[in-house]
Amino acid sequence: MTAVLKAEKLSKWYGNILGISDINLEIGSGITGLLGPNGAGKSTFLKIAAGLLKPKIGSLTVFGAAVFGNHQLFRRIGFCPEHDSAYMEMSGWQFILLLARLHGFAGNEAGARSEKALDTVGLLDSKDREIKGYSFGMRQRLRLASSILHEPEMLMLDEPLRGVDPLWRIKIIKLIKDYGKQGRTVIISSHILPEIEAMTSEIVLIHQGKIFAKGDIHRIRGLIDSHPHQVSIRCLQPRQLAQKLIDSDFVLSVDFDKDGHSLTVKTNQRDLFFTVLIGLIAESGLEIEEITSPDDNLQAVFDYLIGK
């Protein structure tokens, strides 16, 4: 992976309040989700990456260069802030056109870029209204338009779906996924797991200013050896299956569900468990209806990592 963004021993605090601490991270092309609860340090990280804040210790580079004070980098970077802010006295059109012109587009091209960006986020019809008359969701979409109007190679979105209605949520997710497919780098922060999950499986988990884990959601899950994996099996003879599994050292517990047709097994060796399970099924002829892993999702991984 060629790193577009590289953080080394990156730390930042505000007075006595810790923002982020000792972060080492490389992010390449494609979509990366920055996941963590409010106050975890996601926004601080993105603000340093967008040149709004300076690192206290360590460094962060984008396209090989430090960001703070390096305004030329913003030809290649787009940033959508989390704050509900805009120049309220301007119309949506004036706001986007101003930014297009500041990105160096002149005359008709500035107009065409602005029109395209507003159209992409569905605000072309309301472009002449003052921003203060926009709804929260419309302003959020306007911020998104401001970050994509110059079609940057790297796009950083801080909570981009906050306040957006369900229809536009789907459209924005598609837009972001398309960006990722084009080989651009997209970093999205969110504290809502399904949002991130809908866009990417490549995640960075942040909590209390530190990175807890990074990588594909399934690989991250595999890293948590100390925590038992849960596997839920739906079959016609759950007690018979349990009898065969209980003797294995890697099975920590077996629970029967109320419906009487499924059991949940906790194991500390996920891969070995599945190998043995497949052997047992083939050998005994037990009829299995469904095998699921209820904790193989972001919420479960996140809960385990922060010690809930």
Binding site: S43, Y87, M88, E89, L98, L99
Partner: protein
């Protein structure tokens, strides 16, 4: 993009949108107060309630104090200090600092817009006041020369104060409070100190340019030991540019925390 282009784009945009801001209405009303007072004096003089030339005297004694010691510093304070602080309060700074434009161009573009807005308010009101006071001698060249000196001094004063308060606004968030203390504390008191001490105020250099003969200006020139006109012009220009340079220097290097850091 060339710095000048970016600066002009920012200037044009903020100059236009600035007139739509709520605070602009307050400033327009504020700048109309001297005009109303002056017109009232003129009407009373015409009606015979005041002695002849009372309005011209009123202009010299009251209007100049009102403009140079109150209106200009206060407008400069609010226009200058909000150049950066307004962006922080509204959390809009992020849009101007994540575009391929230098922070210098951003600050200077916004400064130019704010300065021109304040200059229009001060200059417009000042012109109306002057016309009302000098109604009977508008045909005299001396009257227009006087106006040119007044307006020139007003612009220099506005430039110097605006630059100072822009630098203060770039440096700290509560700069309006500090600015009010400076205008109504330091400037009001120290200007009357004898010797060179009064030269540490901006108002000293402004008053030194006003064409009021010593002994006739009453309150305005109380204890003023005027400096030469050329020295005063150079001091105001020099200080204005130093403050503006300082504002740019701070703005280019300072990180501004838009709160809610998570």
């Amino acid at each position: 993009m060339k710095k000048q282009n970016a600066m002009l784009i920012i200037f044009a945009s903020f100059f236009k949108s600035g007139f739509k801001a709520k605070r602009m209405r307050v400033f327009i009303l504020l700048s109309l107060i001297p005009v109303v007072l002056m017109l009232a004096a003129r009407v009373m003089e015409t009606a015979g309630s005041l002695v002849a030339d009372a309005s011209a005297d009123f202009f010299a004694k009251v209007m100049l104090v009102l403009y140079f010691q109150l209106l200009i510093p206060v407008l400069a304070l609010f226009f200058g200090s909000t150049i950066v602080n307004e962006e922080l309060d509204n959390k809009t700074l992020v849009y101007l600092t994540t575009v391929p434009v230098s922070r210098r161009a951003v600050l200077l573009g916004k400064y130019l817009a704010a300065f021109l807005q304040a200059a229009l308010l001060v200059g417009g009101g000042f012109l109306l006041c002057f016309l009302a006071s000098a109604l009977t001698r508008l045909g005299e060249a001396a009257a227009w020369e006087e106006l040119a000196v007044f307006l020139g001094t007003a612009l220099l004063a506005l430039f110097c104060y605006s630059s100072l308060f822009t630098a203060a606004g770039a440096f700290m968030k509560k700069s309006v409070l500090i600015g009010l203390f400076f205008v109504f504390g330091w400037e009001s008191v120290v200007q009357y100190f004898p010797g060179v001490t009064q030269k540490f105020t901006i108002i000293h250099w402004i008053k030194s340019l006003l064409p009021v003969p010593p002994g006739e200006g009453g309150f305005l020139i109380f204890q003023l030991q005027p400096s030469p006109a050329l020295e005063s012009v150079l001091m105001l220009l020099g200080a204005g540019f130093v403050f503006l340079f300082l504002a740019v220097f701070i703005f280019e290097r300072k990180e501004y925390i838009l709160s809610d850091n998570a």
